[in-house]
Amino acid sequence: MPSAIPAGLTRAQLLELHYFMRLTRSLEERLVGLHRQGKVVGGLFRSLGQEADAVGSAYALSREQGDILSPLIRNLGSMLVQGARPVEVLRQYMAKAQSPTCGRELNIHFNDLERGFLGQISHLGDMVPVMAGIALSFKLTRQPRVGLVYVGDGAMSTGAFHEGINFAAVQRLPLVIVCENNGYAYSTPTRAQTAAAQLMDKAVGYGIPGVQADGNDVIATHAATKAAVERARAGEGPTLVELITYRRKGHAEHDSQPYVPAGEIEAWAGKDPLDLHRRRMLDEGWATAAEITAVDSRVERELDEAIASCIDEPFPEPDSALQGVYANPPRAEREWYRQMPTAQSPDRPIAQSPNRPIAQSPNA
């Protein structure tokens, strides 16, 4: 007989967690392929080994109640949980006209507040105050909704993080701050980022609870985040949730990680979150091998379809770039040099003498 499932999860949910982790990983793997084919524009960012932290934490939000999260570059999984579709991600990476940002922004920098995700900008830390503002709107309008924002071990060093989390704490906003401690910010190890013994210690200075969980254990990340979400929804304010995990790939696809000590990546590969979850489900009798395989096949099928449906789509029309800087005016001016050859010298009489003092001009 299978043992009881922790964290109030059902068998179906465990399989769903697996689905989202598998989908994250396979989607990124497909992107690697597309990158090699030259189909991806710009850099490619991987979350290999971190799927449990993104998926488990996002899964703790309530989509019915309209919770909203803001992911970082390694939280593709969290967006998928909130309903982002692989084809959207593919279009973003390939800079397609039909991508959610019309080819204006990169990779997973896109959003849908209806589905509950707000895309990041590159400037680390900024999403913390912005998500504090979203949580503030929940509080001011008395809606029982929760916001969740991801920060990396690196992003926590930014001033924006500090101002945002402090504001959320002092205002007791329904905001969960998930810190993904994946060991590195680009090449910088966490010990060169902060002298704090553990990142959850930063909670103390903001007067909010800090908790820690194994970031590679999807049930643990889920449970830790869920408690924080419930606290937030109950009006008790923010929690800082540190998820300890590891970035097994480089900062971006081009990074060969020369700065990583030998053996470190391999050690963490032994704690792969997908393997762990699969093994546990099988060991505990929460799922059968066939069920898991069925999920895996579904993922691959979905990705096949998603890629096929968008790979040949065009880039955006050039002058679509002029739309939408402001609500009003809705369109930016086309520069004069692009209005050639119709552009004319304005109301200038043909024989008008130039205003140069001819007698003095050395080149006259």
Binding site: R104, V130, L140, E163, F167, V325, Y326, A327
Partner: protein, 326 residues
Amino acid sequence: MPEITYLEAIRQGLWEEMERDPRVFLLGEDIGTLGGAFRVTEGFLGHFGADRVIDTPVSEVAIVGAAAGAAHMGLRPVCEMQFIDFISCAYSILTNYVATARYRAGLSVPIVVRGPCGGYVRGGPFHSQNPEAAFVHTPGLKIVCPATVRDAKGLIKAAIRDEDPVLFFEHKYLYRRLKDDLPAGEEILTPIGRARVAREGTDLAIITYGAMVWKALEAAEQLRQTDRIEVEVIDLRTLAPLDDEAIVAAVRKTHRVLVAHEDTRTGGLAGEITARISELCFEWLDAPVKRVCAHDVPLPFAPTVEDFVLPQTEDLVAAARWLVRY
């Protein structure tokens, strides 16, 4: 028709918009119990409550960021910078997050960021700044700078109603010095993006904004009396987007232009205006466009040096004479 100050006009505009629209709320440092360093929001906390008048920590990035997030969700935040000099702390989130949100992500950010700007008040280098140049450069932001009591009210109301993020720079020199009668019943709304002819003239135009409008008007009066020069004064009111039509009309009418501002010259807005004139109506110029701006130094504190660095009425007079004689 009671006479009110420029400051009171802003206060009334904020108040009326908060009464009209429950989505409008305020956030900033010391705006609640204290009513703001200059008392612009005095009495707001009592009337509108702590949910709509939020005292924040000393955190300009959090103020602007939180406003942006709340604005995404349909609210209408108005942020106060205690002095506009501290908007520099939020430069990154304003130019990178707020300004681009609609363009890159289809997100609305109808926020207003307002605060006291400007010199002539012995405020020294960090309580006298005019930060418009750093933001005029950023597509996605609107910037307004009222010179009159009427526009102080009309523009704050228009800014709050605007769907785009608006920076509202109010000149602290004018706060209590400037007074005017405003009709009590009428709803005052000044359209964003439209300049105003502050004085008609034919010999020369001074294009300017903010407190400098009053110096330009003073100079104009003096030039009429002493030199019989008729000066047109254009009060831009909105700095982004600029009102090209009004600028061109003034050039076509007067053929001689001074562009004046309190901010330092190099990289200031006057350069942009000069370039637009060159591009749009070069042939209508009888003389080079000349700038009257502050000297290119940080603004010093002592009266003698502050007055030296900033452009004064006599400077406009001297410059106008030069230009008319050109």
